[in-house]
């Protein structure tokens, strides 16, 4: 079988799994979980040949084209493509998804809607793979929304809980805001270049058919889609709430794959963004990276801490891409996928054991859950960017790119601060979580007592992911496969050495600070929080962004809808009813006139005649003499006339 069929198998296996599972899930043995996990491994295995093909020849390109919708001159093509980046993404996504499916078997054990969970998860994987493989804007948009749908379904999986239902709805609507921007961007591209396919768009842009401010605006519109999907600064509010979903979902969707889709898309359509667009993207990314880090410091829910860390890392990836570190950003995407999925699964196993997500009720789990502890430690080290671990290589590259960019454009110094500050914060909150959860005295005796190591079906994926979290950075395999589509200005050499030093320093400082506060207790977190009370509350409440949106956007919007409804009912309907009443009034007046005058006249005639009749009736007295007398009178008159 040639490569194309492998790709199609990799793509459509999860879809087949999902459809079978939805309809027959409950009736299958073990509710069909083996089917879904198996399908995922099939998909992973089918993606390996593509990886080898790409590995063998990095400039490898595969096109699968077919007509989907043709309307005479206008048509929407349907195509899949495989190149270096797709190869990697295909393998990484299916790999992580496979293991998360395996992990879910343990985690979701006993859930009433067990079979439906796997159906949704399979469907998600299909959409994600489709997104990665799409070769034109229209198709990527289609999968973009399908991924949004599956995230909606999975976040709101336990929909009995209102919070979960709300989170799902919030996620979808915020994504939809981003998607609309993306669609407008696509339309702009289509009207200008007349095509949806990436190559033709890139050729058109290269040929200068589209440039200058219009292209920048289009780029920003397209970036808006990425902001929605990868939860960048203005549209990031949905990600923390998405933690309502089951933890494996958070691991797969809200850490490894979906949220990375935005970064992947920016990477995929790199030529669309003009340098000015990249500046804006850089700032948005920088803000996201830094501020998410600050919030993570104050959170007590283990999943929310990791969620904010994801936000921060996404900011990093986008920052890398925006500042010319094309390879760095995408490499971080891949490494992040591994160690973040690992951290979430580890957190999941902690939650599974303790049945709580609150760090304040944890502590001293190291002894109880050694495997989880060590795999979590590996993940945290990778996250903080400690050298041998994968995180170090990709994050260092990003910081290098950023510094290079700042050196070339000193006016953007703030970006460097964001990058380095973010690195420090990452180290701090990563190890705050580790120490709070695993070291020190257990704060909740009763829960601690019940704590136990997760079953192998959960720990095996942890270990596998840990291996990759550690090893993913080595061997420069990524640079070999992925080349920037556009010639990028190479920053000054010194940038990398400086970046190396700074990132190590920041990470080390972060870890040290965490050690001092949460293990040794030299700095008591409480006192720090008290001294900077206003700052602390600001951070704890997530910069009040949610409240801002609620008050600034949602509430006035609902008021507007009520206003429209009232307007619609009152004015327009009112006008219609008024017309009704007015015509009825006019008709009543007319009726009155008609009745009084016309009818009146007729009655008048009738009455008059009757009145006259009454008078004449008197003449008919019934007495014969009167008649004769009258007769006589008549004769007299005639005679008179005759005679006179």
């Amino acid at each position: 079988m040639d490569l194309a069929t492998y790709v199609l198998i990799a793509l459509f296996a999860p879809l087949a799994g999902a459809t079978v599972q939805i309809f027959l899930g409950r009736r299958l043995p073990r509710h069909g979980d083996w089917l879904c996990v198996g399908v995922l491994f099939v998909s992973f295995v089918a993606s390996i040949p593509t990886f080898n093909a790409v590995w063998a020849n990095p400039a490898f390109k595969l096109q699968i084209l077919s007509e989907w919708l043709t309307l005479g001159s206008f048509g929407i093509p349907l195509g899949l493509q495989v190149d270096g980046l797709t190869g990697i993404m295909l393998t990484v996504v299916s790999f992580i998804a496979a293991f998360i499916h395996l992990y879910s078997v343990g985690y979701m054990h006993g859930d009433p809607r067990y079979s439906r969970y796997f159906a949704y998860l399979n469907f998600f994987t299909f959409s994600m793979l489709g997104l990665v493989l799409a070769d034109n804007f229209f198709l990527i948009y289609v999968f973009w929304e399908l991924v949004g749908l599956s995230s909606y379904l999975l976040i709101g999986f336990w929909f009995e809980r209102p919070a979960a239902a709300n989170a799902g709805k919030k996620a979808f609507i915020v994504n939809r805001v981003g998607d609309v921007g993306f669609f407008v961007g696509i339309l702009l591209l289509w009207t200008q270049l007349g095509t949806f396919r990436f190559e033709e768009v890139f050729k058109g842009i290269a040929a200068g058919q589209m440039a200058g401010p219009l292209l920048t605006v289009t780029g920003l519109c397209v970036f808006l889609g990425a902001v929605g999907k990868s939860a960048q600064f203005p549209l990031h509010v949905w990600l923390p709430d998405a933690m309502e979903g089951p933890t494996p979902v958070s691991a797969l969707i809200h850490a490894a794959t979906m949220v990375a889709a935005g970064v992947y898309m920016v990477g995929r359509v790199y030529p669309v963004f003009t340098p000015d667009a990249f500046v804006v993207i850089a700032y948005v990314a920088g803000i996201t990276a830094f501020f998410a880090g600050t919030i993570a410091l104050t959170q007590f829910d283990i999943k929310r801490v990791i969620a904010y860390s994801t936000l921060s890392q996404l900011g990093y990836m986008m920052l890398g891409l925006a500042t010319g570190g094309y390879v760095a950003g995408l490499f971080h995407l891949v490494t992040h996928a591994f160690f973040k999925a690992l951290m979430f699964l580890a957190a999941g196993s902690v939650i599974h054991a303790l049945h709580t997500q609150d760090l304040r009720e944890m502590g001293g789990l190291r002894a109880k859950m050694p495997v989880t502890f060590w795999t979590m430690m590996a993940g945290s080290l990778a996250l903080a960017g400690v050298p041998p671990f994968s995180g170090f290589f990709s994050k260092d590259a990003i910081i290098g790119a950023t510094l290079g960019f700042v050196m070339a454009h000193p006016q953007h110094l703030l970006l460097a601060l964001f990058a380095v500050g973010g690195a420090l914060l990452t180290g701090l909150y990563a190890f705050r979580l580790m120490f709070l959860a695993f070291t020190g005295a257990p704060r909740d005796r009763e829960k601690h007592h019940h704590a136990h190591e997760s079953p192998p079906v959960m720990t095996v994926p942890l270990v596998v992911l840990a291996v990759f979290a550690v090893g993913a950075g080595w061997g420069g395999w990524f640079e070999r496969l992925v080349r920037p589509p556009v010639e990028l200005p190479h920053g000054p050499a010194g940038a990398h050495t400086l970046a190396l030093a700074l990132s190590l320093l920041a990470a080390g400082l972060g870890i040290l600070l965490a050690y001092w506060t949460y293990v040794v207790g030299k700095i008591s977190a409480g006192r720090v929080a008290d001294r900077y009370r206003p700052v602390y509350t600001l951070l704890f409440n997530k910069y009040y962004v949610d409240e801002l949106y609620a008050a600034g956007v949602v509430r006035p919007f609902l008021a507007l809808t009520r206003g429209c409804a009232a307007f619609d009912l009152g004015v327009i309907d009112g006008f219609v009813n008024w017309c009704g009443r007015f015509t009825r009034g006019v008709s009543r007046v007319q009726g009155w006139i008609d009745f009084r005058i016309v009818d009146g006249a007729v009655n008048l005639v009738g009455n008059a005649i009757r009145a006259w009749g009454a008078v004449l009736r008197l003449v008919q007295t019934g007495v014969v003499q009167n008649y004769i007398l009258v007769l006589l009178g008549g004769v007299l008159v005639i005679l008179l006339l005759k005679v006179l």
Binding site: L616, R617, L618, V619, Q620, T621, G622, V623, V624, Q625, I628, L629, L632
Partner: protein, 101 residues
């Protein structure tokens, strides 16, 4: 010499008397008498004209017809009067006014 005028005057007077009787008398039979008077006045005229104006006997023939009719009429009158009397127990004309309008 007795001329046409004389007879005409007499018949006029008779006619007037007849009419007067018809109009004023309440009793059905009295009215009939009035009618007879009127008829006779008419006969007188017939004959007077036939005598003084035409000379032929036409007037008299008609007079005979009138008499004959008067006889028939009197017979019917009697029947009606009896029937009315039966019905109304009186033949006062003003009481027999069921045809009142």
């Amino acid at each position: 010499m007795i001329g046409l005028h004389h007879y005409l005057v007499v018949s006029a007077v008779l006619f007037a008397l007849g009419m007067f009787a018809i109009i004023t008398r309440k009793n059905g039979v009295a009215i009939l008498m009035g009618i007879e008077l009127v008829l006779n006045a008419a006969n007188l005229n017939f004959v007077a004209f036939s005598r003084y104006v035409w000379g032929g006997l036409t007037g008299q023939v008609f007079a005979i017809f009138v008499i004959m009719l008067a006889a028939a009429e009197a017979a019917v009158m009697l029947a009606i009067v009896i029937a009315v009397y039966d019905r109304f127990q009186s033949i006062d004309v003003d009481r027999v006014d069921s045809l009142k309008g």
